[in-house]
C-alpha cells in the first residue's frame, strides 16, 4: 500500500460495493473498481484485484447476482447486480456502519 492511502476494512468494502451497485445498476468488476477510485478521490486506495474476492463473497451470501454480458466497449464481461436480499441488506449495513463510525468519531474527537 502506498503512503497516504488507507487500507480498506472488509465490511467497508462490501458496503461500498453494494452502494455502488445501488447507484449505478448492473456493473462489471472493472467499472465497480473505477467508480470506487473516483468516489473516494484516490484516498481510499486498493488494488483493483481486491474487488473480486469481495464480489464472490457477496454473491455467495446471495446479496448480488452475476451474469455474463457485453460491456460498453464491446467486451465480454461479467456484470454484477443487486439482489432483493442485497437491497434489504444495504439499509442494515449502512446503519451498522454509521454506528461504528459514530463510535469511532467519539473516540477520535478532541477531548473537551
Amino acid at each position: 500500500m502506498g503512503e497516504g492511502k488507507s487500507d480498506v476494512l472488509q465490511g467497508t468494502l462490501d458496503l461500498i460495493v453494494l452502494k455502488t451497485l445501488e447507484a449505478l445498476g448492473p456493473l462489471h468488476g472493472y467499472g465497480i473498481a473505477r467508480r470506487i477510485e473516483q468516489v473516494s478521490g484516490d484516498v481510499l486506495s486498493m488494488n483493483q484485484g481486491t474487488i473480486y474476492p469481495a464480489l464472490l463473497r457477496l454473491e455467495q451470501r446471495g446479496w448480488i447476482t452475476s451474469q455474463w454480458g457485453t460491456s460498453e466497449s464491446n467486451r465480454r464481461a461479467k456484470f454484477y447486480s443487486l439482489s432483493r436480499v442485497g437491497r434489504r441488506k444495504i439499509a442494515e449495513e449502512t446503519e451498522n456502519w454509521e454506528r461504528v463510525a459514530a463510535t469511532m468519531a467519539r473516540f477520535l474527537a478532541p477531548s473537551s
Binding site: 472493472y30 473505477r34 483493483q48 473480486y52 464472490l56 446471495g62 465480454r76 464481461a77
Partner: protein, 897 residues
C-alpha cells in the same frame, strides 16, 4: 442462514473447478483489457497502458489465490493435502507400509473367502418355504453298544405318520442311481429319488411345468411316471418344454414325464444314517419316481431299513417336542408288537443334517481363519504403535511449532486411513481370488458348493475389524502423545533412550500373543498334513497302480429277471465282458467285482452263524462283495489262510472268503475255515462255507477298514459289474477299448464310472486333501504374519536405539555382544508365546483327534517340527535387525544427533 448458502455454494464449487477457474481468468482478462483501453484513450502508449493497468490491479496471482480461498471449502482440500502428505510419509517407510498392507490383505482375504464358503455351505438356509420346520427322521436303535440312528422301515414311518400329532406330514423315499435314456441311445446313470407322492408338498415345491405326483401314481399297476428336476430337464432334454408328456426309459422301462421342478429346488443330500456313506448320495437327484410300496414294505417290521424320511413339523412345534412324542410312540410300539430291538427316534433339522458331514472340518477352518485375523490385527496394532513411538519426537516438534491437536491427530488419521483403505482394497481383491481358489480345490462332494459367492457381510466384517484395528492403533498413540508436554518429549530424546519401557512391554506381549496363535495353527497344520500323509501312505491291502476301473450298470429289464434265470443271464454277460477285456493288448489280468473300490459301504449285512446263534442286534456288521477268482490276484490283496475261489467252485458256488477283521469279530479264538455263514444270498437260503481268510483291505474307503465277506459271483451275480483291468497300458488308452468291449457285449449298458484306480483313490481323499491344503495355507499365513511381527518390532527398536548401540560400540562393546543383546530382546516374547501356544494346543489336541483321521493326539514329530520351524523362522527374522545393530558405525550414529 447465510452460512448455509455459503457452504452450499462452496461445496458446489468443489465440482467443475476447472471451469470456474477459466471463468475467473476470463473475468480478470476483461478487467485488464478495459483498463488498458481506458489508458490508451488517455493517450498512453500500448506498453505504458498495460503496465499501468497491471499496477493498479495489484497482483493477478494473489487475487486469483484469494478468490480461490474464498470460493473453496476448507476441509476437503485440507484432507487431500493431508493424504498427499501421508502417502509421502508411507512411501518413505516402505518396510512398514508394505508389512501393514500385506497384513491387512492377508487377514481380510483369508477370513472373507473361508467365511463365504462356510456361509454358503453351513449357514444359508435351503430355498424351501419354512425350511426350519423340515426335519430328517431316522429310527434310533438302542443296544449294548449305545444308541445309533438308522434308516427307516417303511411300516414304522407310515405308522408314525398316521398317529403323530406333531408332524404335519412325512415324505419317505429312497435314492438310487438308475440308468436312463430319453431317446434310446446309450443310457447314462443319474441320481433318482423314489418317493412317496407327497414329497413336493412336504418340501413346499411347485412344478414349473406339468404336475407333481398324485396318490394314484403310486398305486400298484399305475402307469409309470417321472418328474424331472430342473437340472435333469436341462441335462436329459436340453430344457425342451415338450419333454412333459414324452416317454423316456428308466432302467430300460418306459415312463412318462409329467412335470419339471423349478431351478432353485435341489433335492437335499441326506445320508441313510449318519455313520454310513453310500455312493448314491454323490449323485444329484435328476429324476423323481413315485414309490409303490411292496408287500415287504407294508408288512415287515424288522429288516427292510432302507428308507430316508423328511418330515414337516406342524407350525409352532419344536424339534424336541416332536422328538419326545415320536420317541414315546416308537417305544410303545416296540413293546406292543414285541419287536426284538428297542426302537426310538432321531430327529435332526434338515439344515443341520446336510451340513453334519463336513461341518467339523469347516468350523475348524473358520477357527483357523479367526486366529489369522487376530494375528493380523495384533500385527497392525504393533506396527502402528512402533511407528507412533518413532514419530513421538516429530509430533513433539510439530506441537512446539504450534500445530493444533486436531492437526496432529488428523495427520495420524490420514496415514492410518490410507493404510487401511489400501490394505482393505487389496484384501477384497484377495478374497475374490481366494473364493475362486477354494472352489477350484474343493472336492465335488461338498454340498451346495455352487451357491458359494464372496459374502458381502463377511467382507464388510473382516475389512471392518482389521481396518478399525489399523486406524484405532494409529490414532491412540497420537492422542496419548498429546498429553505429553512437548517440552518433555523433546528432552527425553526417544532416539537415545530407546522406547519407553511401557510401550515396549505392550509390544512384546503382542508379539508373544502372535507367536502363541501361530504355534497353535502350526501344530494343527502339521497334524492335518501328517494325518493326510498317513491316509495316503498307510497299508491299504490292495495295489491301485496300473489298474483301471470300469463299472457297468445292469438295471434293465433284460437282466432284471427273478431267481436263477436272471442270475444266469447276468453271469453270462459278466463272463462275456471279462473275456473280451482279456483280449485287449497289454492286459495282465481282469477281475470282476460288484462295486468299484472306494465308493463307500454298499451291501451291509450281519454275520449269522448257524453253529453259534447270537441274538439279533448283536451280530457283527459285515460288507458283502461279489467277486470272481481273479479279484484277489488283480488287486494284489494277499490271502492269509485257506484258499481262493477256483473255477471248480462254479458248479457248487456256496463258498465264502472273509477278511481278517471278520474273522476276528465273528470267530474270536476260532479257526473260521470250514464254518458256515447263513442268510447272505438274496434269493437263496443256502449257507456259505468259509474256505479262506483274506488280508484286511480298505476297499470301502481309505478310512474304513470294514469287515468283509467275499462271495463268488456264481452264487449271485450283482446288478452292477465292476471290472478291474490290470494292464501295462495307460488308462487313457484303455478307456475307449474297455468301453468298446462292454458295448459290444450289450449297447444298452450304462457305464457310470471308468477311470484309473489311482484317480479313484485320489478322488476319494479329496475332502481330506482340501482340508490339508487350506489349513496349510493358513498355517503359512500365520507364520508369515508372526515373522513380520517379530521382524517389525525388532527392527524398529534397533532403529531407535541406533545411537545407544553406537555408544556401546564406542565404549568397546563387541559386535557379538550387541547381536546377543538384540536377539535376547526377541527371545523373551517368542519363548513366552511358544509356551502359551503349546498349552493351548495341548487343550485343543483332545478335540482334534476326532477331526483328523488316525491322529495320535500329542505327536512328538508334529510338535517338534512345528516348534523348530517357528523358532528357526523367528531367529531368522530377528537376525536381520540384530546384524543391523552390530553394523552400526559409532561415528555416524553419534553424529546424527
Amino acid at each position: 442462514m447465510d452460512w448455509i448458502r455459503i457452504l452450499l455454494s462452496r461445496c458446489t464449487a468443489l465440482f467443475g473447478r476447472r471451469k470456474r477457474d477459466t471463468e475467473l481468468d476470463d473475468e480478470l482478462r476483461a478487467h485488464l483489457d478495459m483498463a488498458i483501453d481506458e489508458n490508451l484513450r488517455a493517450g498512453m502508449s500500448q506498453a505504458e497502458a498495460r503496465t499501468a493497468a497491471l499496477r493498479s490491479f495489484g497482483g493477478v496471482t494473489q487475487t486469483r489465490e484469494a478468490y480461490r480461498v474464498q470460493r473453496g471449502v476448507k476441509w476437503p482440500e485440507q484432507m487431500a493435502r493431508e493424504f498427499r502428505f501421508a502417502a509421502r510419509g508411507l512411501r518413505k517407510a516402505p518396510g512398514f507400509s508394505l508389512t501393514a498392507i500385506l497384513t491387512l490383505a492377508l487377514g481380510i482375504g483369508a477370513v472373507t473367502s473361508i467365511f463365504s464358503v462356510v456361509d454358503a455351505v453351513l449357514l444359508k438356509p435351503f430355498p424351501f418355504p419354512d425350511q426350519d420346520r423340515l426335519v430328517v427322521l431316522r429310527e434310533a436303535v438302542e443296544d449294548a453298544s449305545g444308541r445309533t440312528a438308522n434308516p427307516d422301515n417303511y411300516r414304522h414311518v407310515m405308522r408314525l405318520k398316521g398317529t403323530s400329532t406333531t408332524l404335519q406330514d412325512v415324505a419317505i423315499f429312497a435314492q438310487r442311481g438308475e440308468s436312463v435314456s430319453p431317446d434310446g441311445s446309450h443310457p447314462q446313470v443319474v441320481g433318482t429319488v423314489i418317493t412317496s407322492s407327497n414329497v413336493f408338498s412336504v418340501l413346499g415345491v411347485q412344478p414349473i411345468l406339468g404336475r407333481g405326483f398324485v396318490e394314484a401314481d403310486a398305486r400298484q399297476g399305475a402307469s409309470p411316471v417321472v418328474v424331472l428336476s430342473y437340472a435333469g430337464w436341462q441335462a436329459l432334454f436340453g430344457g425342451d418344454p415338450r419333454a412333459v408328456g414324452s416317454t423316456m426309459r428308466v432302467d430300460g422301462e418306459p415312463a412318462t414325464v409329467v412335470g419339471v421342478l423349478p431351478a432353485g429346488m435341489r433335492f437335499p443330500q441326506i445320508r441313510l444314517a449318519p455313520s454310513t456313506r453310500f455312493q448314491e448320495t454323490a449323485l444329484d437327484a435328476l429324476l423323481f419316481e413315485p414309490l409303490t410300496p411292496s408287500d415287504r414294505d407294508l408288512h415287515a417290521d424288522m429288516g427292510n431299513f432302507n428308507y430316508k424320511s423328511i418330515a414337516r413339523l406342524k407350525p409352532g412345534v419344536t424339534v424336541s417336542q416332536a422328538s419326545a412324542e415320536l420317541e414315546a410312540l416308537q417305544n410303545a410300539y416296540t413293546l406292543s408288537a414285541h419287536l426284538p430291538l428297542h426302537f426310538g427316534i432321531a430327529l435332526v433339522p434338515l439344515q443341520k443334517d446336510v451340513a453334519s458331514g463336513i461341518s467339523g472340518a469347516l468350523w475348524m477352518l473358520f477357527a483357523a481363519v479367526g486366529t489369522v485375523l487376530l494375528i493380523a490385527c495384533v500385527n497392525l496394532a504393533n506396527l502402528q504403535l512402533a511407528r507412533a513411538v518413532n514419530a513421538q519426537r516429530e509430533t513433539a516438534v510439530l506441537a512446539a511449532l504450534g500445530a493444533s491437536r486436531m492437526q496432529l491427530v488428523r495427520s495420524r488419521l490420514a496415514e492410518s486411513l490410507l493404510l487401511a483403505l489400501t490394505g482393505g482394497a487389496a484384501g477384497a481383491a484377495l478374497s475374490i481370488a481366494g473364493v475362486r481358489l477354494l472352489l477350484a480345490l474343493a472336492p465335488s462332494g461338498v454340498p451346495r458348493l455352487e451357491e458359494v459367492h464372496v459374502s458381502a457381510p463377511a467382507l464388510v466384517f473382516a475389512a471392518g475389524v482389521s481396518m478399525v484395528a489399523a486406524i484405532a492403533f494409529g490414532i491412540l498413540p497420537a492422542l496419548r502423545s498429546l498429553r505429553v508436554q512437548p517440552q518433555a518429549a523433546l528432552h527425553g530424546n526417544p532416539a537415545r533412550t530407546g522406547n519407553s519401557r511401557e510401550g515396549n512391554r505392550v509390544r512384546r506381549i503382542m508379539v508373544a500373543g502372535q507367536v502363541a496363535c501361530t504355534v497353535v495353527l502350526l501344530i494343527l497344520t502339521s497334524l492335518a498334513l501328517r494325518s493326510f500323509a498317513r491316509l495316503m501312505n498307510q497299508n491299504r491291502g490292495f495295489d491301485a497302480s496300473h489298474v483301471t476301473v470300469a463299472e457297468a450298470d445292469l438295471f434293465t429289464p433284460a437282466y432284471d429277471q427273478g431267481g436263477a434265470k436272471g442270475n444266469t443271464i447276468r453271469m453270462a454277460l459278466a463272463d462275456r465282458i471279462s473275456g473280451a477285456l482279456r483280449q485287449l493288448p497289454g492286459v495282465q489280468s481282469v477281475a470282476m467285482t460288484s462295486v468299484a473300490p472306494l465308493t463307500g459301504e454298499t451291501w451291509v449285512d450281519t454275520l449269522q452263524r448257524p453253529d453259534h446263534p447270537v441274538p439279533e442286534g448283536q451280530q457283527p456288521a459285515i460288507n458283502v462283495r461279489w467277486i470272481d477268482p481273479e479279484y484277489l490276484p488283480t488287486m494284489h490283496t494277499p490271502l492269509v489262510a485257506g484258499r481262493n475261489f477256483t473255477p471248480a467252485d462254479r458248479a457248487h458256488p456256496y463258498v465264502a472268503l472273509i477278511s481278517e477283521r471278520t474273522a476276528r469279530e465273528g470267530f474270536p479264538g476260532e479257526d473260521p475255515l470250514g464254518h458256515t455263514i447263513a442268510n447272505l444270498l438274496p434269493d437263496d437260503k443256502h449257507p456259505m462255507t468259509i474256505v479262506g481268510v483274506v488280508a484286511d483291505a480298505r476297499i470301502n474307503g481309505l478310512k474304513d477298514n470294514a469287515a468283509m465277506v467275499y462271495l463268488p459271483y456264481w452264487a449271485f451275480t450283482p446288478f452292477t459289474l465292476s471290472f478291474l483291468v490290470r494292464s501295462s497300458q495307460p488308462t487313457d488308452a484303455l478307456i475307449p477299448e474297455i468301453r468298446h468291449a462292454i458295448w459290444t457285449s450289450d449297447p444298452r449298458l450304462a457305464i457310470p464310472t471308468i477311470k484309473s484306480m489311482d484317480a479313484q483313490v485320489s478322488d476319494s481323499a479329496a475332502t481330506d486333501r482340501f482340508q490339508a491344503i487350506v489349513l496349510t495355507s493358513f498355517g503359512m499365513a500365520a507364520l508369515l504374519l508372526a515373522l513380520l511381527g517379530v521382524y517389525g518390532v525388532l527392527s524398529y527398536s534397533v532403529t531407535l536405539r541406533r545411537q545407544e548401540f553406537g555408544i556401546r560400540i564406542a565404549l568397546g562393546s563387541g559386535k557379538r555382544a550387541l547381536m546377543k543383546l538384540v536377539l535376547r530382546q526377541a527371545a523373551y516374547p517368542v519363548l513366552l508365546g511358544t509356551g502359551v501356544g503349546l498349552a493351548v494346543a495341548a487343550l485343543l489336541l483332545r478335540w482334534t483327534r476326532t477331526v483328523f483321521y488316525d491322529s495320535p493326539g500329542m505327536d512328538p514329530v508334529v510338535i517338534g517340527g512345528s516348534l523348530a520351524l517357528l523358532l528357526g523362522a523367528a531367529a531368522a527374522a530377528a537376525m536381520i535387525p540384530a546384524r543391523r545393530a552390530a553394523a552400526v558405525d559409532p561415528m555416524r550414529a553419534l553424529r546424527i544427533e
